[in-house]
Symmetry: C2
Subunit: 240 residues, 2 copies
DNA sequence: TGGAAGCTTTGATCTAGGTCAATGAAGCTT
DNA sequence: AAGCTTCATTGACCTAGATCAAAGCTTCCA
């Protein structure tokens, strides 16, 4: 029973499906549950495509660009869907930033079931374009943004996902290291650190210890991010 | 009748739906057909989300990062689906690189119809993750790749979409300018030009006029792109 | 067919961010 | 609580690519 919890949570909250139903049972038959401790990588044989849900925790999706270089393609948190096709240019892997629970489906079978079930199809058809849009926004930031803009944008995006907002300042407990931030922004660890310094000296943020960040001036930070990160209306569930 | 052609082409070839069927009629009611001449931008009111299909032609999806800076997020060709959510960080627009025909659907209604129709749902559920993966690969290239790697990767990607392969060399007629290539790779026009020069001097490509490119050594070009652009198995329809 | 307008190439600097190197915190471990 | 290991910060310097500037090519239209 305890073991069922993450699965039932998903069928119900993500897709509006009752645990006992036909389709629910069918999906459950497809799912594997995976528990990852911090730093562990999900054992996805990269033969075939997988759909991964982060039931709880925080993960990074890493593309191995070469032996030396790797890029973090996205961070995922509770409830996010991670689409991991095997036929991209780079090998992708999912690694936990802290203890996380995953649900893994074989993509083809999952989509086969989903396509026939309007509620699931709708949920996916809403989530995937959001994930795509997030990825596009990241591509723009990587292609056009300065180091400061990228970090400012990153902090704002994170604050929307995992921030606790009081009055006008926002507390943030980053589960990723400076190295990982750099790998996701296409910057070195030193540059990330220096940019934290820049934002700190501008009085826009405060840092405490390694992971704790307080955002003082969200609007100014948004302007630093390139004017454009207008406080995004949280339209539906964050998905990617 | 002539006017119906692009629509019928889509319902049939993209979704396996017969023109006269119920769902076909329903979708047709949602669609607007748009003819764009070179340089024209599709008049998508950016109030609400749109799903755009490129029935024929070549288009660029542009994100306006600021008044000065814009980034080309993707190029689309015959048969591609363009998902244009309105709630990204940046305003997106679709502009024709040459004369193009578009089919435009309001996203919500389109997904509502699609979710109930397994063939359409499946088609979309296959296409969207591919588009997402393409975007992620681009993000990796933008985050990690040198100028040479980006251009090499770009040329390979284009050759897979619009190249005519003879024996071992591949002819390519690029519909976009150096400026547009630069805007898509996060490089300046001058750098793009210099990198063309580099690849030319390495004997990997030849250029004739502004748009004609011949790829001589695909494997070597792939290695220049960062080892990783393994000649991608053309799995299903290109989608994004 | 001539020539203007706009692309593209090439060259000479300049600079943001990378690289290398050292110091200074955090946070585990025992 | 001491000490060790790992992570983060700071500094000095150096390159890839941006910027500024000037020719060369295409293309297209009269």
């Amino acid at each position: 029973m305890t073991h069922r919890a993450p699965f039932d949570f998903f069928t119900r909250s993500a897709f509006g499906i009752e645990p006992g139903s036909h389709i629910g049972t069918q999906l459950e038959g497809l799912a594997s549950r995976i528990d990852l401790s911090k730093g562990q990588t999900a054992p996805l044989d990269n033969r075939s495509d997988r759909i991964v849900f982060v039931a709880s925790g925080a993960t990074k999706l890493v593309a191995q660009a070469s032996e030396q270089r790797q890029q973090i393609v996205a961070f995922h948190f509770d409830g996010d869907i991670v689409s991991v096709p095997a036929d991209g240019l780079f090998a992708n892997s999912v690694t936990a930033l802290r203890h996380s629970e995953l649900l893994v489906f074989p993509a083809r079978e999952f989509f086969d079931s989903a396509a026939g079930e309007a509620r699931i199809a709708r949920s996916l058809l809403e989530r995937l374009p959001i994930a795509l849009q997030r990825c596009r926004d990241r591509a723009v930031a990587l292609g056009q943004g300065s180091a400061t803009e990228r970090l400012a944008g990153f902090l704002l995006a994170m604050s929307e996902r995992i921030g606790r907002a009081d009055a006008d300042h926002c507390e943030l407990d980053l589960p990723m290291s400076r190295k990982e931030i750099g790998e996701s922004l296409g910057l070195t660890i030193e540059t990330v650190s220096r940019q934290f310094g820049v934002l700190r000296e501008l009085g826009l943020i405060k840092t405490q210890g390694r992971s704790r960040v307080t955002i003082f001036d969200r609007d100014m930070l948004s302007r630093k991010a390139g004017h454009l990160h207008q406080t995004q209306k949280t339209s539906g569930n964050p998905t990617n």
